[in-house]
Symmetry: D2
Subunit: 367 residues, 4 copies
């Protein structure tokens, strides 16, 4: 949830809790499918359970912020895989099947779909969980009913015909959670601040001799980590990095000599964020420049430095991606249709159109 | 809910309970609007509360079934109005304002919209209530949040911009409840049986001297009630008619000499309903005729009588009717847009397309 | 729930729904016990499921009211057993095991305890259900957790040590539901009225030639049914008697010549009940006599007739009956203790003291 | 909740969220009381709202653990008061009324009782909140109904007669939460470990020259803070200390040269806690000594050092303290009784008996 607790103060749930929830739902899904006669061996059951338990293990602290600042070209999927491979060595190959399912390489494709698809267990858990902890009741989905409606036809995960309205509601709830929670403008503004703060920190610690106290964080700020040089030591250190390191660093950076680093740290810690405007059209460049000049003048900064406080960007939400992969509705007559054409009245095709919003961030005051 | 308890055994909630719920929600809506500075006088508040409390008072037992059989051309809105007028005499004109609001004649149109519109208090109560009692969790709506988002602009009820996702979810939940509950094929089949049963009873008691024990029901079976001859006595008797009269009649008709009446009564009481097929295309007339012949032959009936057991029809659901009336979204910049064009991604226009389904009913067995 | 809907308008749930709920919970209990290694054969599982499904089948309409008026010395347990025996003949002995469990005669006593004991499945369903439908949230119990804590030791149902606080809460919730719902003074007053009304009806129809239209109800009003003369025909007729017969009779009796019958009918139908006073001490006989005289004088009735409108009685609640049967707590060290001595702080022994309350009913007005 | 998330992974809610919840409930309570005619001026309303918002502001990170290690003789109530006094200077006396209410010095005693008593708003919020986030459903209380039952008689907060069953349930739920959550043996063991770890750290940093990186934490580890020397600078620094400082310190101390500090840090961070035995009787001193010797021998420690890993203690729960202050039940006849004598059946007097449990902690293994 990144910094969503700044908007929804109850949203302090953890990735660990999500992993347990996914495991629980996956067990239900496997039980239901086996009850319906789908062939899943004991090894496959164990594999798909391990895969879902570990699917998010590669997320670092403030996951998306970190991916766009410190370990810039390493996705969390890549890192999850690195961890699984490491664990597979430790457990002498017992995770091989899990890894194949996680990578989408297992020959029973429906098992891979349970891990990653338009209707995977991950989504069934996090939508419900995030709705619960934020209190955004409209995002609540009926995970249990959705799982009960699952089946497998021709090695594809399908939803039984009578589940179509539940799927519609799942897609609409997901869309609502995106705009109301995940892409809430205050969270967005906070996350962008954190990304810039970490980039600034990286710039400073890469270009000066200054010592940082936390050796783990030090490593990631001083080294350019990428898939080429990612090794066992990096993995080891990455596993130790958590929210406590980041926030503690921010706390100490409040008094740093660098104005940008110090100011950005204070802004996040005191929840004194940038103003953010969300628009359907591209940002007016005049306005952007105008705010930039004000920051340059008032904060006495270079243009480069001012861009830490005034910037634009885009955010988008694609509620349903049938091009990438379908949610299949299975009719009693044996036919299978994608949900966006199966739904008679609710034009779900529209959900597969990306909605792009443009944002402009700038300081609330210039004191 | 008519005969929905045959499908959802928990759905035994009453119209009385619904009336109390509406009153409760209306009080909340009035409080919120007044808090936001909307001018509502004490008399108007009383009026709109009375109007919602009594809005459904004209419903007879098994409301829709009755409207299509016994009091065929009298809508429940007409009857509610008759009751209110009668009460207005008794209370010496104290209901005049309430009646004007109910009829849509009050000059503050937003008060009328609270009683009857695409987002009226009636719907906010019954969707939540029916979802609760059927256990169809996906139909649950956040009535309280929807009410909190209400406002009035230019004498029109509007929903504040940030409520748009809640409105989308309300419309999708409503659509889901229609197909999953209100138009559930088993309820549909039961309701059609009841309509036909009551028509048969009316036919028998109008054309024979047979005495029926229940004098109230007797009156309605022997008289053709319509808006011309509807008088105070009819109103008085209508107010006494309830589910107990209908079901008790069915219980005694199980042993009636008329095969049709007796058989239909048993079918409903024993939940031994007709088979029903729901299709997107018109019913194949050959199939219909085939079932008719079987009934004629096996039950030894005339074609006219057989049509009580084999029949076709259509049912439709229009989730949102912007032509009739809008759900207005009010933007911070002052603009007002209909929700179907305000929603960026979810093509709500599709919701305003009527979905028609065709059904064919016929006996499960011919013993 | 008898006439509780007069107080809690949502409380319209049915005995059928309760039977389904019990079946559902019993399946869970059986699964948990089998999972823990308790030996339950397939036949026994079927037996205990049938027994719980049918455990309440002998309840007539407004069960307790009927037991104290029309079929005075026949308990619903006796009648349930009669139905099961009848079904056993129809199903050629397949219910024998179920009947033994229901009667407490099966050699595995814990199966009998699941049907009837201080912590039986019946209670686990009805407390939760009644709390849900009345909206008395404090009566809600965690049936699922309670079932998860069950085990069997020495053929006795026990609750594992860590479930002790849940048991305490179950007993307190039960007590709360008794006073707040089941013995609510308005329901009590309504039920006493109905008992007296049915006795009056029985008196009238036994002593006059008057014809009553409903032949089923007629049978029970004109015959003294007891365990001696209870036969197959009676059982058949009893199975047809439901709330619709009783309420329809009341509706027609509103206009009966007998003042007592007519007045009592109107009082119940119009929810215009007697006033009721609940006291910890016996009723002051002077007050009782005073009200009686007023009724005799104002209604112009004999003393015997007046006693239909003015009467006293007692009601009691015994929250926990360790003398009859224990709720056993099973400690990790193997010991078993009754919950009332196991609870360290909450003096549950007090719960096993019967609380008796005295009530006095009399008319609100004498017009 | 201290370290409860080690047992209940959802229990990550914050004190900030609790403060908001209390504010919300207090507003409800004030509205209800004013609606019932209790005289509360605007200043008093503001005062009681400020008092509840700030009542917990003096809690440091891992509150109770900190109180028993770092700032040993300063209660969180003392610190809350210090913060309020400081804010009162900043806000030029606007908090004076709030402070008087918080200290119990305001002349309307019922306002003080809303802040601190057997049924204060604090408890109404935290019981419900902790039940929600831990998932221990039985601890759920009906805060809203309890607030609706409040009234004031003779300047005392009372509960109306019909709320007595809700109060009983509140007391039982509270008791359940104590044993099942707050005093859960695993949390207890973790908290005791943390207390000892912080004492060890204090010992090391007071007796050596070693530099600690975090200057805020450094201050509290190197100084003996007590009510004598507590000044504005201390308050300032205390306000900056949070969970991030403590956990970050633990992370770095994992590699500390001091075996005790390093080992304790690892134990908490890796959730590799001590074994804990809970007994109703005092701990057997032989057993304690036996575990001590094992630790001395296996870890090669002095006895003093070994006592960080092997220790005994007591924990207790007093569910209801009528001696200290009553929960008053207000009868319709005007009388007021303490709930423990008002309850007819549930012996609440037993709740006022302190339950003491003894615990013994020692390592799971000696490697």
């Amino acid at each position: 949830m990144g910094l969503s607790h700044l908007v929804y103060p109850g949203a302090n749930h953890t990735r660990f809790h999500h992993a347990l929830g996914c495991l629980h739902l996956m067990k239900k899904a496997v039980d239901i499918l086996k009850f319906k006669g789908v062939d899943i061996s004991e090894e496959e059951e164990e594999g798909v359970l391990i895969a879902i338990l570990l699917h998010d293990i590669g997320h670092g602290p403030f996951s998306h912020a970190l991916e766009h600042s410190i370990v810039s070209d390493l996705s969390h999927e890549y890192l999850s895989l690195e961890f699984m491979n490491r664990l597979n060595i430790e457990f002498q190959g017992q995770l091989t099947l899990a890894i194949n399912i996680f990578r989408g390489n297992h020959d029973k494709k429906f098992l891979c779909q349970l891990i990653s698809s338009q209707l995977d267990i991950d989504r069934l858990d996090y939508l419900k969980r995030d709705s619960f902890y934020t209190g955004v009741a409209e995002g609540n989905i009926n995970s249990e009913r959705l799982i009960n409606m699952l089946n497998v036809v021709d090695d594809k995960l399908v939803v039984e015909e009578k589940g179509i309205y539940s799927i519609e509601k799942f897609l609409v709830a997901r869309r609502l959670m995106y705009w109301q929670v995940y892409l809430h403008k205050t969270s967005l503004s906070a996350e962008q601040l954190l990304i810039r703060l970490l980039r600034r920190a990286k710039y400073i610690f890469e270009t000066t001799d200054e010592q940082i106290e936390n050796s783990t964080l030090n490593y990631f700020l001083r080294h350019d980590i990428n898939s080429e040089n990612f090794d066992d030591i990096t993995l080891q250190l990455f596993s130790k990095l958590d929210d406590y390191d980041i926030i503690s660093a921010l706390k100490s950076w409040q008094n740093h000599d660098d104005f940008v680093l110090s100011r950005l740290s204070k802004m996040i810690l005191n929840r004194d964020l940038l103003k953010i405007k969300l628009k359907n059209e591209p940002i007016d460049q005049e306005k952007l420049k105008c705010h930039l000049s004000k920051v340059i003048k008032n904060y006495k900064l270079s243009e480069e430095e001012a861009e830490y406080f005034v910037f634009e960007g885009t955010t988008s939400n694609l509620a349903y991606q049938p091009d990438k992969e379908h949610i299949n509705i299975w009719y009693k007559n044996g036919k299978i249709k994608d949900v966006s054409s199966a739904s008679d009245q609710l034009n779900l095709k529209a959900l597969s159109k990306t909605v792009v919003k443009h944002y402009l961030c700038y300081p609330k005051t210039y004191n």
